[in-house]
Amino acid sequence: MEVIHCENVTKLQGKAKALDQLSFSIKENTITGLIGRNGAGKTTLLKILGGLWRETSGEVKVLSRRPFNSLYVSENSIYIDDAFHFPSHLNLKEILREGERFYPNWNRTLAERLFDYFEFHPKQTHANLSKGKRSTFNMIIGLASRCKVTLYDEPTAGMDRAVRKEMYRVLLKDYLEYPRTIIISSHYLEELEDLLEDVLLLDNGKKVLHLPMDELKEFAVGLTGRSEVLLQWLRGKTILHQQNAGPNELYAVVKKEDISLPEAQRLGMTISPVSSSDVCVYITDRGQGGIDRVFR
């Protein structure tokens, strides 16, 4: 069953298109990673799905309803980011209690266990927490609310590596116990690899890729070989990324389906796997040369 369905969704911010004719759908009970560079439209998309923002055109359906201003979607979805403004005079325990009052599936045991594990003080206020602690607390709310659709917008911002890893583990365990539809946007794709089932890659408000994680891992290969041989052989094929690997040596990343690996081996090229996060970076690259162009 499709829980999220978007068709030709466009969102204008001023004259700029934050989302541009975006169409995709997400099945029930999956974890999707929303990947993209800064300004690719990740937050805009999540806020529209969460019903906070309004799409300019196109059709958005979450749980078969238009999310904007929908009470039903508000009750069955939660959008977590690091800009939560919790009331300053409610302490952390009181905020959890409010969450419990609002969300029908709230899991109090989980909330309290996580609260204790991450060493929060019940009388602390949200505004006095450090950035990482705040993100951790917000994520606890997201986990405990057990909404059918859970949207995390860079939930791990400011967390240290250890907490990030633990949080991903908690997320997975709770998901297995209580499956729901989760979308996570993050810049740390490599850390999420084991968690995600699907990846949705955005660039400039457009969908670039939407495929299962396993396919993304096998999406591209890196070839290293003599420059002229490599370039000759790859003529007419899309080179996602290339860089010099030494004198007269070239490293090129190409789609796996475009080439035949045995032939590459026969031509004396070294074949190396390309990590999924590198693939995403290469695909959304702003053009040859990268940041170095600025200094030319």
Partner: protein, 242 residues
């Protein structure tokens, strides 16, 4: 969205708002305390050669201050820091407006009750601390009149609150109202002061010189409904947590 769903969300938000906006009660206490101090001078007086001066003491100043407090408090509810706190859990625009409407009514009730009682406080204070001779308290009325009086006060406060709420919502909708509305209000005040503008005075009389309880009830609640309708329509398409 079913009616029951909406009702449930409104109820939850209503109680949430009590915790959220608790600070408003402190400002109420301070406002009314200041108003009582101002009232010590008497809210009116007449001089007569034979018996000297007669001062009147009533809760009028407290009431006017409470109107102002209600207006500003309601306006505050629509400002960004308050809204950000509000739009956290389960909500939509309609449930948010309805719970605000009810919350403002509850606020008005507390403000109105304490304003009414402050009239007695004032008289007791004057009797205790000043060397005046008490002529009459004018308070021996039937319970029904007292209740009607309190309800009327509450309704007036609620009306001012909803006016403030409407102003706040309009400003949310279009920033230009932030300049336009104060200009209009100040302009009207100047008009009244300089030329005793008939139209504005008539509006005042329409609301405040009404002797029938039923008509007061109808006039104020109709105004409240109109204000909330305008608020709801003007903010219905606005996005939250920008």
């Amino acid at each position: 969205m079913s009616f029951a769903e909406l009702g449930k969300a409104v109820r939850k938000q209503f109680f949430y708002k009590f915790k959220l906006f608790f600070g408003l009660f402190y400002s109420l206490i301070i406002t009314q305390a200041i108003a009582i101090v101002f009232s010590f001078n008497g809210t009116g007086s007449i001089s007569s050669g034979q018996i000297g001066q007669i001062h009147f003491y009533s809760a009028d100043i407290v009431l006017v201050f409470t109107f102002g407090w209600a207006f500003i408090s309601a306006l505050q509810l629509t400002t960004k820091p308050f809204r950000d706190n509000e739009y956290l859990f389960v909500f939509n625009r309609l449930s948010s407006h309805l719970s605000n409407l009810l919350f403002l009514l509850a606020l008005s009730f507390i403000g109105g009750l304490s304003a009414y009682l402050s009239g007695y406080l004032l008289k007791v204070a004057v009797y205790m601390f000043f060397d005046f001779q008490l002529i009459g308290t004018n308070d021996i009325t039937s319970p029904a009149v007292v209740v009607a009086g309190i309800i009327t006060i509450v309704l007036y406060i609620w009306m001012f609150a909803s006016l403030g709420y409407m102003v706040g919502s309009l400003v949310q909708f279009q920033k230009v109202f932030a300049i336009l509305i104060p200009s209009i209000i100040i302009g009207c005040l100047i008009l009244v002061a300089l030329s005793e503008s008939e139209a504005i005075i008539r509006i005042g009389k329409f609301y405040f010189f009404e002797s029938s309880f039923l008509l007061v009830f109808i006039k104020t609640t109709a105004t409240v409904c109109l204000c909330f309708l305008i608020s709801a329509v003007s903010t219905n398409h606005l996005e939250v947590r920008k």
